[in-house]
Amino acid sequence: MTSLYDFLETNSMYVVLLIVLIIWIGIFAYLRSMDGKIKKLEQDSPV
């Protein structure tokens, strides 16, 4: 864990990479859950 911290401290580009990845994973997970909710709504009120 300490070595990872040291690595990130000296390679700031990877910190940016981690931040962007966290944002992307968050957005993706949100979209997936929204897709599921729409599907449920469609099943409850068939079009």
Binding site: M13, L17, V20, L21, F28, L31, R32, E42
Partner: protein
């Protein structure tokens, strides 16, 4: 099938984020590492063009068939096109601050995207001003077709006619692509990944609009 599609979208965009930030790029005069913006800014612009064309296509389908679904698809696509157009403008503007010295300087690219935003802003104003579903669908379809026709002019033609500070388009005036092969691979992956993301969000947006439309129809009856 859908899980494969969304999974592949996730993998492609994750690949672009990692390689786009980490992989070394050749030294490009006056751009340096800022050239990496290409992996994210250009796909935004590409998707806005694609979305506006799709909106035009669905409008034509609506006028031919008069099926409400096509109007809802056209509307959903125009909304996404507008969103990605704003993202392209914002990312380009931030890049311009560090490359040209100011966020906004009415460069031909900036001017043309600004006009495009106004054209589609008027499309949403038109839609919200009409109460009758059928009339709204009919008029906004006609408007969307006319707006779609202006897109190639503002995105592809006008910025090439006037002197601009903007880096050369991907396909330059000689019709060739001058890009390092690694950069080109990441860039093309980015185009595919973000296009798939657009198609996925479009599908969700349309289904939401359709649910809302049906609910409104049911409450009227």
């Amino acid at each position: 099938m859908k899980n494969i599609f969304t999974g592949l979208t996730f993998v492609l965009i994750t690949f672009v984020i990692i390689t786009g930030i980490v992989l070394p790029i050749p030294d490009i005069p006056a751009l340096g590492d800022k050239a990496r913006v290409l992996y994210f800014h250009v796909p935004m612009s590409w998707i806005s063009v694609l979305a506006f064309f799709m909106s035009m296509w669905y409008s034509i389908r609506y006028l031919k068939t008069r099926e409400a679904d096509y109007d809802l698809k056209s509307y959903s696509s125009a909304q996404l096109g507008f969103l990605f157009c704003i993202l392209a403008t914002a990312t380009g503007s931030l890049w311009a601050k560090f490359n040209w010295g100011s966020f906004w300087n009415w460069d031909p690219r900036q001017t043309s995207i600004f006009i495009l935003l106004m054209i589609y802003g008027a499309y949403f104003a038109l839609r919200s001003a009409i109460d009758s579903d059928e009339q709204r669908a009919k008029l906004s379809s006609v408007y969307s077709i006319i707006a779609g026709v202006t897109v190639p002019f503002f995105v592809f033609i006008m910025p090439r006619l006037v002197e601009s500070l903007h880096p050369d388009p991907i396909i330059n005036s000689q019709g060739k692509i001058h890009m390092d092969s690694t950069m080109l691979t990441v860039f093309l992956t980015s185009l595919v990944g973000f296009t798939m993301l657009y198609l996925w969000i479009l599908n969700m947006k349309f289904r939401l609009e359709r649910l809302q439309f049906k609910k409104l129809k049911n409450s009227e009856n």
